[in-house]
């Protein structure tokens, strides 16, 4: 199957940069340590902040480090290739291929995320477990749900990043859009602080936004904070955002294609 082949090739492509991977694991681990101590200090003052105990908080911090590259919170991944190809005009080569543009790049991004999960995800988690007391799920089913949630998180993140990349069809300079996208992702995913710490109604709001699917939703499954109906609802919301964003991408690409083909961009 073509898309599986694409995902495998993408996995292999990212695996050629071993030095970058090792450096990244080191960086994630250093930040993990720093943020862990911050969280320990915070939860010492307020041991039930956001409904988490201190072990939850420290686990959250290490899992969030593990998710950064896996779901590409900062951006990056195959959508960066798309933005580059739009800018250089190489995108026409993609138009000459009898395959789904979106499917192609999504498959590539899933291959990339699989590689990042196994390296940039697994390694810092092991480091964190050696240095701190982390909480691990006790049933294999929870691990499975977590992985499904991470996969959905990758698709949601891909949808957002693809929409951002597509602005290159209209904008000559993407710097503004990229910074805005990054700030949103960092704050609304839970990477900066767990979303459960947001006060009052803002907490419900940020939990409903698509960015929550990137970090907060999978980690709540891991920690056992969302179980049963709540877990299903969480996954359902992720799946809904994934579908909406992919549809949005399809629509934007149609418009961009029309602009290119009819107006001669």
């Amino acid at each position: 199957m073509l898309y599986v082949a694409v995902a495998l090739r993408s996995f292999r492509r990212y695996s050629t940069y071993t030095a970058a991977t090792l450096a990244g694991i080191f960086t994630n681990s250093v930040f993990g340590v720093i943020i862990s101590f911050t969280y320990i200090a915070v939860w010492k003052e307020n041991p039930t902040a956001g409904g988490y105990d201190v072990t939850d908080a420290v686990t959250f911090c290490w899992l969030a480090q593990a998710m950064i590259m896996t779901v590409a919170v900062w951006g990056g991944g195959t959508t960066d290739d798309v933005a580059d190809r739009i800018r250089t005009g190489d995108i026409v080569i993609d138009l000459y291929r009898p395959v789904s543009f979106l499917g192609w790049y999504l498959a590539g991004d899933l291959g990339r995320s699989a590689y990042h999960l196994l390296t940039r995800g697994l390694a810092p988690t092991v480091v964190g477990a050696l240095l701190f007391d982390l909480r691990f799920p006790d049933s294999p089913a929870t691990y499975l749900l977590f992985l499904v949630s991470v996969a959905l998180g990758v698709v949601v993140s891909f949808g957002i990043r693809m929409l951002v990349a597509c602005t290159a069809f209209w904008l000559l300079d993407q710097t503004g859009v990229l910074s805005l996208a990054m700030v949103c992702a960092v704050f609304f995913s839970g990477l900066a602080v767990p979303l459960v710490l947001f006060p009052g109604w803002t907490r419900d709001l940020v939990l409903a936004l698509p960015w929550a699917a990137l970090v907060q939703t999978p980690i709540d499954l891991w920690l056992g904070h969302s179980t049963g109906v709540e877990a299903v609802a969480g996954l359902g919301l992720q799946a809904t955002w994934a579908a909406v964003l992919l549809l949005g991408c399809g629509l934007v690409l149609r418009v961009a294609d029309r602009r290119l083909v009819v107006q001669g961009g």
Binding site: L2, P98, V261
Partner: protein, 316 residues
């Protein structure tokens, strides 16, 4: 029915320009204007013209990624812009300045992905790949990541990639740009062979007129969006009133040579340059020069197609 049929094809672009603080003017640019031509199966056609003449616009319309604003065209019986995906399976496209290969992957992996994209039967793929590998000398490169290939090597890889799904038509946009003489020669040899043995129709745009001289029997010249010439290379010479040059080395310096049918264009010591129409035979001129003067050496320079085309442009 011809393989490619183009009738009164036009494409205009609307360009908006600022003409003041608020006011904007709208200009209509005719990139291609009432273009008509047919290309038969198995032809090798050179498509030339200065930058901005409308070459790329034409190719984009022929390959379906640009919708014409007027006229009619059909490629292999297909309306390109309406059935772009169907068409992609029947054509190959090579851009000298872009690559269809994947930067981080070995050449072999790129070829394998293309096989899956075009759903080529594995056996046929193997046969094609073996043949191209041999003809283009790709054997040692198959396991090298594309980013490590030289320009010439990458180009060979790109051409193989464009032909793997057995396209009926191959469009080449500046295929020899940036290549050295040996690589160019090898590529032309390969293209000639593909055209002869596989009956692939070739349409190439180029700035390197040697590509045309060595490959194409038919030339189309476009300027300002209109076809200014369509025919044989020899006809192009006649049309541009091109001339051949007889270079005569005399034993001693002498006054300009006077012979019927040719005139001296330059004198430099004992060497003189005589020009005569490209269509005329050199034999009588050589004979009369040899009989009337003390000649040490003679040589003939063929007309330069670039001068011919410049001549055609300047007369418009």
């Amino acid at each position: 029915m011809s393989l490619i049929e183009v009738e009164d094809l036009s494409r205009t672009f609307v360009v908006r320009r600022r003409a003041g603080r608020v006011r904007r003017t709208t200009d209509v640019v005719h990139a291609v204007r009432d273009l008509s031509f047919d290309v038969e199966r198995g032809e090798m056609v050179g498509y030339i013209g200065p930058n901005g003449a409308g070459k790329s616009t034409t190719i984009k319309m022929l390959t379906g990624i640009l919708v014409p604003t007027g006229g009619r065209l059909s490629v292999a019986g297909i309306d390109p812009s309406r059935q772009r995906v169907d068409l992609t399976r029947r054509i190959g496209v090579v851009f000298g300045q872009r690559t269809t290969l994947w930067w981080d992957l070995p050449l072999r992996d790129s070829f394998d992905l293309l096989r899956r994209i075009y759903r080529v039967d594995p056996q046929r793929h193997r046969r094609n790949l073996d043949e191209f590998t041999e003809l283009l000398d790709l054997g040692a490169l198959l396991d090298t990541p594309v980013r490590q290939l030289s320009l010439g090597q990458r180009m060979r890889g790109d051409i193989a990639a464009a032909l793997l799904h057995d396209p009926e038509i191959l469009y080449l946009d500046e295929p020899t740009i940036g290549l050295d003489v040996v690589s160019k020669g090898r590529l032309r040899e390969f293209l000639r062979r593909v055209n002869e043995e596989r009956q692939v129709t070739l349409l190439l745009t180029t700035h390197d007129l040697q590509d045309i001289e060595q490959l194409c029997r038919r030339v189309m010249v476009i300027d300002h969006g209109s076809l200014v010439y369509d025919g044989s290379l020899a006809g192009l010479h006649a049309r541009g009133e091109s001339t051949r040059t007889l270079v005569v080395d005399l034993v001693d310096e002498a006054a300009p040579i006077e012979v019927p049918g040719a005139r001296v264009t330059r004198v430099e010591g004992p060497r003189q340059w005589l020009s005569f129409p490209a269509g005329a035979s050199a034999a009588p001129i050589v004979a009369s020069v040899a009989s009337g003067y003390d000649v040490a050496d003679l040589s003939i320079q063929e007309p330069d197609i670039e001068d011919v085309i410049r001549e055609i442009y300047s007369r418009r």
